[in-house]
């Protein structure tokens, strides 16, 4: 394991250059360029705000629905976009995998750098939104880096499992969008956790993504420190997913060049 990590560190330049190449290529090929990083969560926020505050009428306490939805979408999209981008990444880079020798996890990991970049731009936009809606910042925002770390560990673990599994079983390509849709509906992306019946909430928050999104909202919008109990579950899930993902990836990695 340590040996693997050492090799990965030796190839950090490749990881960075692959991510940079994708960002640059995307920037040059599209008219909106960097703006796409916020166009996706922004447009979804606008649509869901119209639907949920005009048709369904979400009664929200202190914080306007729009910003509640934005925080949900912003964190969710880091997870969903990373997975979507990475699942076929090994197969898409087949000419690299069969022609050069480097730690293969560099390929999916470069995707999380790209979506992470979008996430940071989304953060700037979030700050603007919070200023616009006059949401006060409190000391509780200091937990955000910790939340981000847990989330990245979960994302990376899932990415490693999915991208490796996809090389061996392409069925995953059809299965993943379905799974992501289901997971999005059972996570508080487009609605606040307060929508969930009181007696179900403890079960509901066992979903690490639900616990994470709720924690982001609590710290950023409601000015409180998140619930330690539900975060502990997310942390445990993060450690397990990352460890299992990395282990699984490294144990099937050597078969990639043969299968393709």
């Amino acid at each position: 394991m340590l040996e693997h990590l050492r090799r990965l560190i030796a190839y950090r330049g490749l990881l960075w250059n692959l991510a940079l190449a994708e960002l640059k290529a995307r920037h040059r090929q599209t008219a909106l360029g960097m703006l796409w990083a916020i166009a996706q969560p922004l447009s979804m926020m606008v649509v869901t705000t119209i639907v949920f505050s005009m048709f369904v009428r979400v009664s929200e306490e202190a914080v306007p629905y729009a910003i509640v939805a934005y925080v949900g979408l912003w964190t969710w999209l880091l997870f969903a976009n990373s997975l979507t981008a990475s699942v076929a990444s090994i197969v898409a880079n087949m000419n690299l995998v069969t022609k050069a020798n480097f730690p293969r996890e560099v390929i999916p990991l470069s995707k999380v750098v790209v979506t992470g970049f979008d996430f940071l731009i989304g953060l700037v936009f979030l700050a603007a939104l919070m200023a616009l809606y006059r949401v006060p910042l409190t000391l509780s925002v200091i937990v955000i880096p910790g939340l981000l770390l847990i989330q990245v560990a979960i994302v990376v673990g899932m990415m490693l499992i999915c991208s490796a599994l996809y090389v061996l079983h392409r069925d995953l390509g059809a299965l993943l969008p379905l799974g992501l849709q289901v997971l999005m509906l059972i996570s508080p992306v487009l609605y606040p956790v307060s929508f969930v019946p009181e007696q179900l909430r403890s079960v509901y928050l066992l979903n690490p993504m639900a616990a994470l999104i709720e924690a982001y909202r609590t710290a950023l919008l409601y000015g409180q420190f998140p619930n330690v109990g539900s975060l502990a579950g997310a942390l445990l899930a993060a450690v397990l997913l990352f460890g299992m993902g990395y282990y699984y990836f490294k144990s099937v990695e050597r078969r990639f060049a043969d299968v393709m």
Binding site: G13, N95, A100
Partner: protein, 443 residues
Amino acid sequence: MLCDAPQDAGAVLEFDRVSKGYDRHSLSFGSALHRALAEIKRRWNPTCPKEDSYFWAVRDLSFKVYRGETIGIIGENGAGKSTILKLMAGITTPTQGRVLCRGRVASLIELGAGFNPDLTGRENIVLNGSVLGLSQSEIKRKFDLIVSFSGLEQFLDTPVKYYSSGMYAKLGFAVAAHVEADIILTDEILAVGDAAFQRQCHKKFQELQSSATIIFVSHDLLAIRNSCTRVLWIRGGRIQLDSKPDEVVDAYLDSVQQEREEELRLGRPRRAIEGATRWGSGEIEIESVTTHDAQGHEKSVFRTHEDLVIRIWYRVNGAFLDPGFCVQLHTDQGVWIHGTNTFVDGVSCVLDADKGMVEMRYVHIPLLSGTYWIMAGVTSANDWTTPYDLRKQAQRFEVLTASGEGGLVVCEHKWNTTVTQSAAAETSSAAISHPVHPKTRAS
């Protein structure tokens, strides 16, 4: 890439009984079910043979590579050469056995692997460099060298999708050539770009040879012969021969030629077709045609009026009836000069059971200066539309003429410049009694 060091101190790369198998089975549910059923059937009836699901690309291969060697790997398509390179590079791992190496291995298996077409030349140098294992600082240090080697200074900020294929390959080679490694694995990447760039590539290759151990897979036997210190001939995933370049390349060529001949014999048309130089059913085969002088020494340049001896070497492959041979002479331009065969000459042929030779002699060949071709054939009962074997241009020979005569053949002749018109009748008879003798003319 770093891996376990070999046992032998001088070796930088060692294959220790390495086998590589590929699973032929697909991963689909249907084939999994099929295999499960076969397994159950086998359990009920153990005599059922177990299906061998592996295709062995490399089998039980052992060899060592020493520091400073340039090893060439040759073999036909599918012999396992690429798999061996991939095993050395660590791109794939052996099914059995161990691959041991000492030092940094650079696999330059494909030029420009991982080039992103939307990025500029400059950006792709950085990207490709890191794919090949260069660190950021190494890339920065070598950037200018790479650029000047590629000669693409003007196009550095152009996306590589607008590059010509030659420019693409140049940039790829320039990056690859600047990877510092102890062991360099490469295939036919030396033959890129125009002549000037190829010279540059060869120079760089020689430079690399002095600093690194090189493994070079190629179908270019001339390049292998000229640049390698040792050659491995791989056949069916095993080493057929491991020796000096000349020896291995010659043996390989012999084997390829033999197989090619066999293919030709099986695939040869039975009747003459446009453009074919050989046809026939093959029961008797003409293996070669040789030319000799009167004493039997093989040679291919003759003087006018010398004896020309043609030997036809045949091999018997199957049953035949009433065989006979033919010989024809043609000029280089295809003009038919002479032709005959054993049937019209009334010569009977008794053939050896396996292999043998028939000889035909042109006494005092009257040809003048030029290049001539021999056509030779063998058939049954003077039927030349469906011969056993017929070879156009089976052998070539040259004729030199010492005298200043011109044309194709010598026609015997005599001049007379002192006769009067009234004596004309007598001189014509004198010409017959005193011809210009061929022997005296030739010497």
